[in-house]
């Protein structure tokens, strides 16, 4: 059997499969169905300084081969995540976990990251500068190289663990933003967050989503994600975590050939709660099919 492990910013993952933030909660719902320790790790629900309800409902719409969400970072706030969610998470998951952080100011990001950095189970901080569903924050930090670099510097100053900046595809030049984050000290880049999308209810003649627009994810965006992972990973030296429409082990391998060191699985978890587990199980067979002995050998193999 081939080698599945990969090194992500100095921490070894047993395999590169990582359920993406916002599609896996804090792991409990999935731990009821299977042993989630089979995963490389997972990125827990995006955490902000203060508790948030998020946007009004409806905040979900279906699309061809995908979905739109406008949840808007619902979470109990960093204090409760640390006091209530992480102890529960520790009972069902025994590996380093990825803490996903969002904010509305540079200070917010630094505050939340500093708190989570001190938690022993947190292995990486994934800093989301790309949420399309909040106003005056989130994505606005990820659409200019300067702002993304500013968040990166502020977070790096107060943390000791690897900092991975999660980027938005809703930009004209994602490579420039990734390079700015790298120059500001980022240890890794993850991409892509959802693409801004919209659906209209023909009967009501109104948007399906109360917030009008939301983040489009699912298999439909996979080719865009592969392209951006390829572009960014070939322009920076730090590792890239690829995501966007990944639903099979073949997708994981394609993403890695494009340049991803590890791969996040998002919307697929919501329609098949076993999706991430199935991908981990399928990987050895698919590796054999493509004559891959060591998964880390194929990272960025496409020139």
């Amino acid at each position: 059997m081939g080698e599945l492990n990969v090194d992500l910013c100095g921490i070894t993952l047993d395999n590169p499969v990582i359920p993406a933030s916002g599609t896996f909660g804090y792991g409990y719902e999935f731990a009821e169905l299977y042993d989630i320790n089979c995963l490389g790790t997972f990125s827990f629900k995006g955490t902000t300084k203060d508790p948030r309800f998020g946007n009004p409902t409806p905040r979900i719409a279906e699309c061809e081969a995908g979905m739109i969400n406008a949840v808007g970072l619902q979470n109990p706030g960093v204090e409760k995540v640390i006091s209530e969610e992480l102890p529960r998470l520790a009972k069902c998951f025994h590996k380093p976990v990825m803490a996903n952080v969002s904010g509305f100011s540079v200070e917010d990001y630094a505050y939340t990251c500093e708190k989570l950095d001190a938690e022993p189970q947190v292995g990486w901080l994934e800093v989301n500068v790309s949420c399309p569903n909040v106003h005056g924050g989130g994505m606005s930090f990820g659409t200019s190289p300067e702002a993304a670099a500013q968040v990166t510097r502020a977070v790096k100053k107060v943390t000791t663990k690897p900092v991975i900046i999660k980027l938005s595809p809703n930009v004209t030049d994602i490579v420039a933003i990734a390079k700015a984050c790298e120059a500001a000290g980022a240890d890794g880049i993850s991409l892509i967050n959802t693409m801004l999308g919209m659906r209209i209810d023909l009967n009501r003649r109104k948007p399906v989503i109360a917030n009008k627009m939301g983040g489009f994810s699912g298999p439909a965006i996979f080719p865009v994600a592969v392209r951006m992972v390829y572009q960014v990973s070939h322009a920076v030296k730090i590792p890239v975590v690829g995501m966007g429409g990944v639903s099979t082990a073949r997708d994981v391998i394609e993403m890695m050939m494009a340049g991803a060191t590890a791969v996040e699985v998002g919307a697929a978890n919501l329609v098949d709660p076993f999706a991430s587990q199935k991908i981990v199980e399928e990987l050895p067979r698919v590796m054999e099919q493509y004559r891959i002995e060591n998964l880390s050998d194929i990272i960025g193999i496409v020139e």
Binding site: G22, T57, N269, L270
Partner: protein
């Protein structure tokens, strides 16, 4: 929650756009009336959440209304087809607070989950009154089935073409001890105002996953944020916070 494959054993129209489907499979994860199942359909990305009308060992009954492409696809399905179904979703109704004479108030496709509830309440020795509200006579379904369980059934129609003319709130019995309801939100609000006892109400919302992972269907309550798919769909009257 459990994932399993179910085989369609029946799929028949009850009215012009309401269908009843019976599915054979493992129903052991369904633990309370008022829970729902989430059905994967060929070519559709998100599953379709549908309330459980009845569940016995090995047989699941759902009743659904054709409202879009997904349910239209379901209406065309034939006996023998297999479906990927997540079962045992949501909290369901709590029967322990019913008292001696609960009233069950259902509106349109909010009627089905009350069937299994009525069955269990009657089995527990309660006197059960059921008020089923529809727009007009041609939309009425399941009144006889509730009566066959031994419930005292009243039908209301908005246009008066069957039963009491008006809404379910126009046909509340005099001496009920508790209420259970499921229906469109304007009806739930009317029931909230018209009832003089405590009760439980089942809500619906567009869902992503249906099992608590995506936070797509959250709502605010007096006791905090709740996921309609996980801590709901049934809420107690006392915790409901109407937003509009």
């Amino acid at each position: 929650m459990q994932q399993g494959f179910f085989e369609i054993t029946k799929n028949v129209a009850l009215t012009a756009d309401v269908y009843k489907m019976e599915l054979a499979g493992d129903t052991s994860a369904i633990t309370a009336p008022g829970q729902f199942v989430n059905i994967k359909l060929e070519g559709k990305f998100l599953r379709r959440p549908i309330s459980v009308c009845d569940s016995t060992a090995g047989l699941l009954t759902i009743i659904y209304k054709v409202v879009g492409e997904g349910t239209a696809q379901m209406a065309k399905m034939t006996v023998g087809q297999r479906l990927d179904v997540l079962t045992g979703l949501g909290n369901g109704y709590d029967l322990t607070t019913a008292g001696d004479h609960p009233v069950l108030l259902g509106g349109g496709v909010g009627v089905p989950p009350l069937y299994m509830l009525a069955k269990q309440l009657i089995a527990a020795g309660k006197k059960v009154s059921v008020v089923l509200g529809f727009n007009k006579a041609s939309e009425v379904f399941y009144a006889q089935e509730f009566a066959a369980l031994g419930a005292d059934v009243t039908v209301t129609t908005v246009d008066g073409t069957m039963g009491v003319k008006g809404f379910v709130t126009d046909a509340l019995p005099a001496d009920y001890t508790y209420f259970y309801t499921c229906g469109p939100e304007p009806m739930l609000k009317a029931v909230y105002r018209a009832t003089n006892t405590s009760g439980q109400m089942s809500f619906e919302e567009r869902m992503g996953c249906g099992f608590g992972a995506c936070m797509g269907c959250s709502c605010k309550t007096i006791t905090g944020f709740k996921r309609i798919c996980k801590e709901g769909p049934v809420m107690r009257k006392e915790e409901i916070l109407w937003e509009s």
